[in-house]
């Protein structure tokens, strides 16, 4: 198993927003997706995932709708709102600026 990395504060929100940006997703799918894409490095505990979803919903960045899941069960699907799109963009820019700066420092200092 590859080593797992603790997510820095605030990055989980960014990742969730990104995961639901293309199409509505339910909680389990989001966690699976994060795990797959990051090749098992990022593993999100439900303990942080669901509270984060509720928090983002309260802020109006995502909305929840009940729909049928891939195995035909009722599941709660989250999708990005207009406000959420703006937030995602802003956070992505901030993240990129940060990582670029950190990388720069690591390379040259």
């Amino acid at each position: 198993m590859p080593p797992r990395i603790e997510l820095p504060q605030g990055t989980l929100d960014l990742l969730i927003l990104r995961c639901v940006a293309n199409e509505p997703q339910h909680g389990w799918a989001i966690s699976e997706r994060l795990q797959q894409i990051s090749k098992d490095v990022l593993r999100v505990q439900q303990g942080s995932l669901y509270p984060a979803l509720h928090r983002l919903e309260r802020r109006g960045w995502i909305v929840a709708k009940w729909g049928a899941s891939e195995n035909n069960r009722r599941a709660k699907f989250y999708s990005l709102t207009r406000k959420g799109e703006k937030q995602l963009e802003a956070e992505r820019d901030a993240w990129e600026a940060l990582t670029a700066a950190v990388a720069q420092v690591l390379r040259t200092a």
Binding site: H26, G27, W28, S31, E32, Q45, Q46, G47, Y50, P51, A52, L53, H54, R55, E57, R58, R59, G60, W66, S69, N71, R73, R74, A75, K76
Partner: protein, 879 residues
């Protein structure tokens, strides 16, 4: 913002839906996880186990989701509330004791607070009350007018004296209370009439119109609240007085109660012109830019001038300004503050008890806390939960306390109407509710927090291993509770000592010999109308006839005196002794002067110490005689035989003396209050008096087998009235009271202080007993296996009893010792309330200490006895 709010509201109000959705969402996740694992070839059991691990504590997760939804605080509160109510219902014993404890503390506090609020704190019911002042010494109308003319610091001023006027024309002649005033008194107080107008200065003159301003209650009761009352008239003292104004309902004179106001010049022209008749209470209003000191300097200047001009009457008459509010509450203030202090101590004890109860309970529920903590509940949630419970208790206590206070204040008012005149019962107003709310909330939070913090501290794992005892938390709680119980005893002892001192003082006071035998004596007041009785001979004829008639009634002995003992309403005269060097005018000694007729000393059973009492022969045109009190002899005839000496009132230089020969000495009689020192007094026969203005008299009628309060006394009163009206049917008979009643009225204030302090001390002792009982009962339950081992090893019941009692006694003794020191330091503030008792009276200290120690032992005995009944087999298994 808006979505945020809507979201929170939805979470709050559609809580069940939201919870169900959350459940479903998590269950879906869990099921998918299992599916995924099984499809990857893991066995079903293993998949379930792993999914469990991944999902973690479902409760904790849900809790965090709720947190994220942002409704946690309110929701938690509601849940805690429901939980608290459930817990409280499950342990009704604790709930009842805790609520009652707090109700007593809060109720007593609220009652005394509302009295203090209305009596000491709230302003007088007149406009600009801070500028109202009074002069401590009464004054005459002449002087009032001179002061008004000369002052530069007093804006307005007026005087009042209370008299009784005969109202005839009704079913039977009655007396009404009349305030004889000058024009200016009501203006000074600043209250306008509700109907009509006040007496104007040009009507306030000799021979002015017979007008009156009436009080609201008189208007309602005597005049049927007639809206067209202005212009109606009533016959008072034989004259028709016309109503010109009605005062508003809220108005009352600062000190006295009255029915009507009339001009002194019109109603009592005989007394009005005399400068030396200092019988008016005066009220003044300071100019707006003037301080009390400036006004006092101004007034003293005027007083000095008056003294120079009129040395005979004003030579020795200082004038001291006092703010009116201070003057009115000055007497009762120390007592109320001491009571407030006492009730504060009771409250502290109640709180100590309350927090002690909660501590015991928190420890008993420690395992529950530990369990909940290990299931993921945060410490702050546990504390909030506990505090919610104590706040619920304290609010219940506050509610019952309010009911108690309402009942208690009714009791207060019924105990002492006179000194609490301004207190009209508890006002259920916003201030009071705020007081109760604040005191309940604070109590609940502060005294709930201590045990909650104590019980939730420490390591969860340790506590699970060794539930409830042996760990540091248990030790902290034990020490804490010991301190609480010991402090309760210290506080209770202080209160007990205070109450003990009051009781002893009151007993001393009650056992003071009033100088006569009050039981079986009825008294009534008569005043002869001036129109038909303005000369001594007419008065004497009436008096003699009345006594002759009354003494003919079977089994009745009757006599009369100007002013009754305990009436606190006697006249002083300066007097001179024949053959002694003359004393400068204005500096002669003062003596109480009383006129009597009939066998007054016999009826009142006042012992005659030497010489004789009065006889039928001591009448007009006979040698003038007087009987004096022992105190007069002690002060003016030390070591001499007073019999045969001659005395007279001090007279002006050119006025010849009319010497009275002292024919007898009688025991001292209390004419003021029981706690006053004996006064020098002299008695002279009514028939030999030369002051025709003393037209009043009090009848004393003894019927030896009179039962107090029974129909006997009303029959006797009816007979007396019949005899009075047989002679003159225009004379009112008023102030019908037994001598015992006069005495108990005079003791009312002391009784009030004693009863309340006694009550609070009793409460304190009860609460302390409950506190030590609770602690010891808990201690016994904690030490059951230890006791079991003792018994198994052969300890006798006696040994176990000694073990537990010794434990409790130690606690109580520490408290009592601290309390003794505290009491010795504190009780001196009570010195002014005590009668002939030192604030450090050793007997009181010893007795109260023994009492409290006995109560402590009794309270410990119950759990101790239970400890002796421990079955060692069961005890050793007990965990």
């Amino acid at each position: 913002m808006l979505t945020d709010l809507l979201h929170r509201l939805r979470s709050l109000f559609r809580r069940e839906d939201v919870e169900a959705e959350m459940d479903e969402e998590l269950r879906f996740h869990y099921d998918r996880e299992i599916e995924k694992l099984t499809s990857a070839g893991v066995t079903r059991e293993e998949a379930v186990r792993r999914a469990h691990l991944m999902v973690g504590g479902a409760e904790q997760l849900k809790e965090e989701c709720r947190d994220a939804r942002g409704v946690q605080i309110i929701e938690n509160f509601l849940r805690d509330l429901r939980f608290s109510l459930r817990m409280l219902r499950k342990s009704p014993g604790l709930t009842i004791v805790a609520v009652l404890t707090l109700a007593l503390g809060i109720g007593a506090n609220t009652a005394i607070f509302s009295v203090i609020d209305s009596v000491l704190l709230s302003p007088l019911p007149y406009p600009d009350p801070d500028r109202l002042v009074t002069i401590k010494q009464n004054d005459s109308l002449r002087n009032i007018n001179d002061i008004r003319r000369q002052t530069k610091t007093l804006a307005q001023g007026g005087g009042v004296t209370l008299e009784r006027m005969d109202y005839t024309g009704g079913a039977e002649p009655l007396q009404v209370r009349a305030a004889y005033v000058n024009a200016g008194l009501l203006e000074t107080l600043g209250v306008s009439p509700m109907l009509g107008r006040l007496i104007s200065p040009d009507e306030d003159v000799k021979g002015g119109p017979h007008n009156m301003v009436i009080m609201h209650h008189f208007w309602r009761e005597f005049l049927g609240a007639d809206p067209k009352v202005i212009g109606r008239s009533l016959t008072l003292n034989g004259n028709r007085y016309t109503v010109i104004g009605v005062m508003p309902q809220s108005f009352a004179l600062p000190e006295d109660e009255t029915d009507i106001f009339v001009s002194l010049w019109v109603a009592y022209p005989e007394a009005a012109p005399f400068r030396g008749v200092h019988f008016m209470r005066t009220y003044w209003r300071l100019n707006s830019d003037v301080t009390l000191d400036q006004a006092q300097a101004d007034l003293s200047g005027i007083a000095n001038q008056l003294a120079k001009q009129y040395p005979e009457t004003e030579g020795n008459h200082p004038r001291t300004l006092v703010p009116l509010h201070q003057f009115l509450v000055g007497d009762i203030r120390p007592a109320l503050l001491i009571l407030f202090g006492a009730v504060g101590l009771v409250f502290l004890i109640a709180c100590a008890n309350f927090t002690g109860l909660l501590t015991a309970r928190a420890i008993a529920r420690r395992q529950e806390f530990v369990l909940r903590a290990s299931l993921g509940a945060g410490r702050s949630r546990l504390i909030t939960q506990s505090v919610t419970e104590s706040v619920v208790l304290s609010f219940l206590g506050g509610a019952f306390g309010l009911a108690l206070a309402k009942w208690g204040t009714t009791l207060l008012v019924s105990l002492e109407p006179a000194a609490l005149d301004r207190f009209r019962g508890i006002q259920m107003d916003a201030r009071l509710f705020a007081f109760i709310f604040a005191i309940s909330l604070l109590t609940g939070i502060v005294f709930g927090l201590i045990p909650a913090v104590g019980a939730t501290s420490g390591n969860t794992a340790d506590s699970l291993k060794e539930p409830g005892r042996g760990n540091t938390t248990g030790k902290f709680s034990r020490v804490f509770r010991n301190v609480l119980v010991a402090s309760e005893f210290a506080l209770a002892l202080i209160l007990l000592v205070g109450a003990g001192l009051m009781i002893k003082g009151f007993a001393r006071l009650q056992s003071v010999n009033p100088g006569f035998n009050p039981s079986g004596v009825m008294t009534m007041h008569l005043q002869l109308p001036i129109s038909r009785y303005n000369k001594i001979p007419q008065q004497t004829t009436f008096r003699r006839e009345l006594l002759a008639r009354l003494n003919r009634l079977p089994g009745v002995q009757a006599a009369m005196i100007t002013d009754l003992p305990f009436g606190d309403n006697y006249l002083d005269h300066r007097f001179a002794i024949d053959g002694r060097p003359p004393v400068p005018i204005g500096e002669e000694p003062v003596v109480q002067t009383l006129s009597v007729m009939g066998d007054y000393f016999g009826v009142m059973q006042i012992p005659i110490v030497s010489g004789r009492g009065f006889t039928e022969m001591d009448r007009e045109n006979q040698p003038l005689v007087a009987v004096v009190s022992e105190e007069l002899v002690r002060r003016f005839f030390p070591g001499e035989n007073p019999l045969g000496a001659r005395i007279d009132f001090a007279r002006a230089a050119n006025e010849p003396h009319q010497w009275m020969t002292i024919v007898g000495v009688v025991r001292d009689v209390k004419h003021g209050t029981l706690n006053e020192p004996p006064q020098a007094s002299m008695y002279a026969p009514f028939a030999q008096a030369d002051e025709e203005w003393r037209r009043w008299m009090s009848l004393v009628v003894r019927e030896p087998n009179l039962n107090r309060g029974s129909s006997d006394s009303s029959r006797l009163v009816a007979q007396v009235k019949q005899q009075v009206w047989a002679i003159d049917n225009q004379i009112p008979v008023s102030e019908i009271r037994s001598m015992d009643d006069w005495m108990s009225v005079s003791l009312a204030r002391q009784r009030f202080n004693m009863l309340l302090l006694g009550l609070f001390a009793g409460l304190a002792m009860l609460l302390a007993a409950v506190g030590i009982y609770g602690t010891m009962a808990y201690r016994v339950s904690q030490r059951i296996n230890e006791i079991g081992i003792h018994i198994a090893l052969g300890a006798q019941r006696r040994d176990v009893l000694r073990l537990i009692l010794g434990d409790g006694a130690k606690l109580a003794l520490v408290g009592i010792t601290v309390g003794l020191v505290g009491a010795a330091a504190i009780t001196r503030v009570m010195a002014s309330l005590l009668f002939e008792v030192e604030p450090t009276d050793p007997a009181t200290f010893i007795i109260t200490t023994l009492l409290l120690a006995t109560v402590a032992l009794a309270a410990c005995y119950i759990p101790a006895r239970r400890a002796t009944r421990v079955d060692p087999i069961i005890a050793l298994r007990y965990e």
